[in-house]
Structure formats: C-alpha cells, structure tokens
Amino acid sequence: MTTVGAFGAGTPRVKQDDDERWWFVVDPILIACALFITMLGIVLVFSATRGPATELDPADTSFLERQAFFAVVGVGLAFGAALIDIRRVRRAIPLAYVALIVLLVGVLVLGVDRNGARAWYRVAGFTFQPSEPGKLVLIIALAAVLAASAVTVGRLLVTLAVAGLPILMILLQPDMGTVLVYMVVVAAMIMMSEVRARVIVLLSIIGLTAVIGVFQSDLLADYQQNRLTVFLLDDAAVEDLPLAVRRVAYNAEQSQIAIGNGGISGQGLFEGTQTASDLVPFQETDWIFSVAGEELGFRGAGVLLAVYALLVFRMWRIAVRATDQFDRLLTVGVMAMFLFQIFQSTGMAMGMMPVTGIPLPMVSYGGSSMITSLVAIGLVLGVHRRRFDYTERH
C-alpha cells in the first residue's frame, strides 16, 4: 500500500468510532463543487432556452424546470449511491450489464432519431439515453474485472470483450462522441490496473493503429470524417466542403465568436447576443460552454473551469487514497469520464477539439447526463467514505 497526503492510508488501521465524524466520511469540497456546477448549469440552461423574453411573450421556463427536476432526482440518487457499498452488490453487476446491453440493442429498434443518431428512448414525455447510465455500469463492471493483484492476459481479454460490446452498440446508433468517452474511460482504467507496462504499450500501439485504420478505411462516412477534422481547417478550405459539414464549421465558428465576445467580464447573464439570437445551435446541450463564455466572460468561464478542476482533483485525491483496488479503479473511471467530457466539450466550443457532441457534465441540458454525472459523484463519495473500511473486513 502506498500513501499520499496527510490522511493517507499508509498505516492500515482499525476504524475508530470517533472517525465517524462527518468531515471524515464525506468530502465537502467535492460536494460543494458538484452543487455549484449543477446550479450554475441550471442557470446557463435557462439562459440558453428562455428565448427572446418580452412582456407579451414571457421567458420559456420549461427547460429550467425540467433541468432542476433532473438535478433534484440526481442529487437524491447520488446520496443513495454514496451510502450503499457498491462492493456488496457485486453479484448484481452482471445483471446490470445484461440490462445495459438489452437497452442498447432495444434503442436501435425502438429508439427515436435525433440529429442523425438513434440513441434515445421516449417514455412518458421524457427521453432517456441508455448510453449515459451505461457509462457507470461499464465503469463498475470493468472495476470488478480489473480489480486483481495481477491482471493476466485472459483478464484483459475479458475486459476488452466487456467494454467492446456496448461500444459496438453505440457505434451503431451512431453516437461518436459517447463512443469516445467509453474508449477513454476503458483506456484509463486498464492503465491504472495492475497490468504490466509492456502490455499497455502493446495495447496503445494496437489502439493507435486501429484509430488510424478506421480513418483510412471506409468505415466512417465522409461527412463523419469531415466533422472530426473540420476544426483544423481555415475558412477558405471549409468553403469547399459539403453543406452539412459547413454547418458544423459554422457552429464551431459561432461558438468561438460568442466566447471571444465575452471578453474578460462577459456580456452579463441573459445578455448574450449569440445566445439570445439562437446563433449557436444546440447551445443548451453540446455547446453550453459558449453560453458561459459569452455571458460570464473569462471570469465566469474561468471559474467554471477552475471548479471543474477542483472537482476532478478531489476525485484524483480519492483515487490515490482508496485502499481497495476496486474502489480505486471505480474512481479512476469516473475521473477519466469527467476529465474527458469537460475537455472535449469546452475544447470543442473553443475550437480546438473535433465537433462531436458530448454533454458538459452537470451543465448541459438533459436528464440522462445530469443524473449519470451526479450518481457518478455519489459513487466516488462512497469510495471516500469507505476508505478506512478495508482493514476492518480483512
């Protein structure tokens, strides 16, 4: 066992009753960060969807109400997730995994098309995206498979198989953004497991070759490839591309203009021009960072990024201190998911990442993503809470 920091678990010790004090059990900073981001997110979603509010035509609050509802449900479920000991329900993991696969197959048949992908169920006025909670199912499943003192090649193959099946199903939707999140999570978890270094190198080479291979082959339609590379092109080169791709470039351009015009102090909440004029499509979901950048400026967007950084740092800290390999891998998976989604979503809005729709955790509008993100934080808080339990049970 290793140790980092003052509260490290370097000396495994028997849990004392006075360690049950709440500040030992919870991570108040992580919770504060999550709640801050969630509340700011609700405000940004409202700003993005309220429409040109006038005396005759009052602001649209339907998105605000729904997002607040999702947040309340998410916080409640996160509370539950923090309380249960996920290791005690290991037996339920295969069941959850099978349920995920069934849902992912089902969505290809029963799901509704939205923006060219069939990724959503529509139930009773709500849409549900199974690949969102699927991230958590996969993270837990992989943590269970990989939590061994030595990860053999056989175990690694099981890991790849377990991860590959849902990724394949999502590729069929097709939802490239979510596929990328899954792949990053899987890669991070494998690297953090007790797998030999040379296996990681080998896997990296295979993975890289596969990515290049996919780009060289005909697996991706031209428009998909163009979408992924258009952010690298200058304006003149974009002119020659098909209309659908130019629209993608247009989104990215408008988003950057919005953020650039935010400047240092922003245009003020609800005052964003690009936002109010509906110039950035999907601004309440994939492009929500442009609203933050335009209306809150460098100060606001910088604070948002900083709070995200603190949130991810607390997860990293919890991963370092976890005394159990399963818990550690679980935390690493969640951390990788957050880190990549934040980087991709804000990076896309600022024109340095490919245009592929990924929600900004707890900020982008959408119940599946909101609840998944909050429950993920609940799971990590559970890891934090259990970090002294290890010795007790052995």
Binding site: T2, P52, E55, M192, I259, N261, F343
Partner: protein
Amino acid sequence: MNGRIRTLGVAFIVLYTVLFAQLNRVQFVDAEDYKDHEGNIRPQLRAFGQERGDIVTADGVVAAFSVPVEAGEIDFRRSYPTDELYAHVVGFQSLNQGAFGLEREYNDELAGSRLDQQFGSLKDLFVDRDTTGTVVMTLRDDIQRAAADALGERNGSVVAIDPATGDVLAMWTYPSFDPNLLSGLDGTAVNEAYRALLDDPDNPLLAKSFREVFFPGSTFKLVTAAAALDLGGITLTDPVWPETDRYEPVPSGSAIRNFGGSTCGGDLLLALQRSCNATFAEIGAEWLGPDAMVRTAEKFGFNADPAIDLPDAAGSRYPTDYGAFIAELDAYQPDGSDPLPNGDTPIHENSAVLAQTAIGQNDVKATPLHMAMVAAAIANDGQMMTPHVVDEVRDADGGVYERVEPSVWRTSMSPFAAGQLREAMVNVAVNGTARAMQVEGLEVGGKTGTAQLGTTPASSHAWVVGFAGRPGQPAEIAVAVIVEAQPGASEQTGGAVAAPIARAVIEAAFGPG
C-alpha cells in the same frame, strides 16, 4: 500503481493547462479578431432595436420603414411593404443574420448615428429630435415593377440605368425573397427561414443582377466593335468581310462556327446586325490582337473592382493571357505578296482563344449590371458613369444630408466610336436580332446574345442589352436583360425571349404616350 496514478494526475494538469491557455487565447489575445469577425452581429444588434429612417424609391414608394413594437429592449423592427420587389437592393436588417444591402451599406445614416447627424442635435439637446436619415434610391417603382412583371417566373435579371448619370432605375432578379421573413423578432423562425433560403437551389438570396457573373455571349461583340472602331482602323462600312460559315484561327485551333451553320459576313454594320461569329472572331484575333482587346475590355470596366454602392458586388472578367508573341499576321500570308491592311496585328500562341473571347465565349464573364453599363457607355458618348442605387440621404426635416453626384467611372471609347456603335445598334433593333425591343416613337438600339450552356438538351442564357431615347435626343435609359438557361440555342433566343422584357422596361420608363 502509484506512479501510474501520478501520470494520470500529470495528464490532468496538462489538459487543464491547455484548456486555460485556449480560454485566454479566445477571450484575451484574439478577442478583437472575433469582434471584427463577419459572423459577429453585435453592431447590427445595437442598431436593430432603434428607429431607423425609411428607404424609398425615386418616385416615393416606401420600401423599408421601422414599425414600433413592444418587445423588451427592442423598440422597433423593420418592415418591407414591397415584399420581395427590392429585397436584393434594400436588403434586410435581421436580429441574428446581420444586415444586407442598403440596410448594411447605409446602416449609420439610417440609424442617424453618424457624428454630423448627431452634432446637429446638440444645439437642441433637450428636445428629442429625430436624427434618422431617409435613404432615397434612384430606382423607380414603375420601372422596377415592369421589369419584375415582364420577367415573370423565369430565372433571370433585369437592370436599367440612366446612361447620363449612372442612376440605376431598376435592378431585379428572379427569384427574390421576402425580407419580412428575416426581420422578425423570433430568432428561431428567422433562422429557419434563412436556412430554407440558403438551401433553395435557385439561391433567391443572391442578387444575381450584380453579384453573379454570366457568359455575356454575343452582347460582348459591342466591346469588340468598340475596339475595332477605335483601334482597328475599321468603320461601319469598311472593310467588307466575305460570306463564310466559320473562322479558322491563326496560328492554329478549332474553327469558330456561326450559329446553326449559317453563312454571314459583310461590313461591321451588317456583321453586328446578323451577330456574325466568324467576322467578330476574325476582328478580335487578326485585326486587333490581345493588347487592343484587353485594353478595350478594361476601359469598359472588365477585370476591375465593381463600382456600385452595394456590398458584395461581383466583378466582370476578361481573359488577359494569350501566350507568347509569335509573329505578325503577315507572316501567315502564303507568299507575303499581298500585304494585309492589318498585317502588323500581333499573333500570339493562343490567338485562337482571343477569337473566342472576342465573341464573349471562353472565360469572359459579366454581371447583368455591367452589361447594362456597357450599353449605357455607348449611349453616353463613351463615358461609363459610376452606377449607384442611392440618390440622396435626407434628414428628418426633409433637408438633403448627403447627395450622390454623378461621376465618370471609365472612359470606354471615343465619342465618335460611340456614335457609330449607336447607329449600328439602332440598326440591329430595326433590321436585326433585337427587333422585339423596338418601341414606336422612340429611338431604340440593342444587341442580343445567346450564351450556350450545353447541348444535351440544348439550353442557353438569353441576353439583350440596349438603350432608348426620344428621336434626336440622348438616350434616357440603358437596359440589360438575361433570362437564364432557356431551352434551345439559336441566335434568335436572345431576341425572342429577352428583348420583349427590355421593351416592357423601356415602355414603363417613358410612360404612356
């Protein structure tokens, strides 16, 4: 394990450093670039909610005005009572798609935000004076309507100009669009309407009259004729070219044939009347040469930035590269015994291309506006006036704040050549291909054109350009009409399809009687 998780921490720090660096770049370093970006609509937005002056035609028809609305910070929106009729000239002011046309070009004057407009109001600082400006166009509603009615639902453009002043009297392109769809307060509806217009294959947003170039076809022979009269030692009656059905280029190249395999020739007057390809190809390649042709085309404003007081105008093109000089024309005489009058014409490697450009083919491209300017220059003794759609800006009290004075843009040819060419064009309208634009009681000159697009099935742009005036008086109107992609491709197409539209425009300009 510890090492790896530290790597993860380092990766996390690196990624975040990149994110912050990019946030700094977008919001500090490059913020000014984004502010100046053409996709940035903030200047328009600032102007959007304010009251603006009207945009009216020369004969007093209101084409744009501000309607008071009660919508938060927005006090006014723009309304366009003439719907699509002036959309390509007036443009529109949109909350989220920016401003186009005069709404953009005269944004400050309409809003009254120019310093001198504001300055006048300083002395009565406590009176809420109206500083907005009214933009008076040169376009006349009667002529514009006649142009739109005559063209009907055929893709094409009609431009009419006052030759003496450069006043644009009508400028119409079908299809056009309804600017009211784009000036609403509902951003989503506006964006949907805008995207629908963008997706329309006929591109109704594009003012093809001055923002799109076309093959001018035989109407370009007017430029070649001007060069012939001024620089080629050619008159309307001398020399007389033999009747032939083709021109064989020197030094080599495929033959240029007449329309429908017909034979033609004769003097310049007759060649223009019959729009004889073989004759004009020979004039360009063997009587004038590249230098004289390019010089003349450029005196007519080809290869120059377009001159019009509207944004995003397209410039017309005339090819300038005809390869290296080879020899003078005399060198191609079988024995050099019978020197040609034009024997010193320089022959270049691609003189065959010059033969094509001299009849408006190959890579010659012109806007309908520019072809109207060509006709106007001929009507105005060779002086091509700067075209403009705005006559004056008036302040709220009716005083003239700013007036656009006529100015010469190019001296295209000598007054003598212009007179000769007018005579030839009047002949074309009396005896030649442009008879359908003749109006009783007026002196009308014209030239048709048929720019072939393809042969399966045969289709072509039908052109006519011309002018009209009272007998013995200077012409009062010059016209260019293009009807795009008409079936068939004979020299008659321009005369049959486009000339009647030109006649309708001329009749409207001179009114009943």
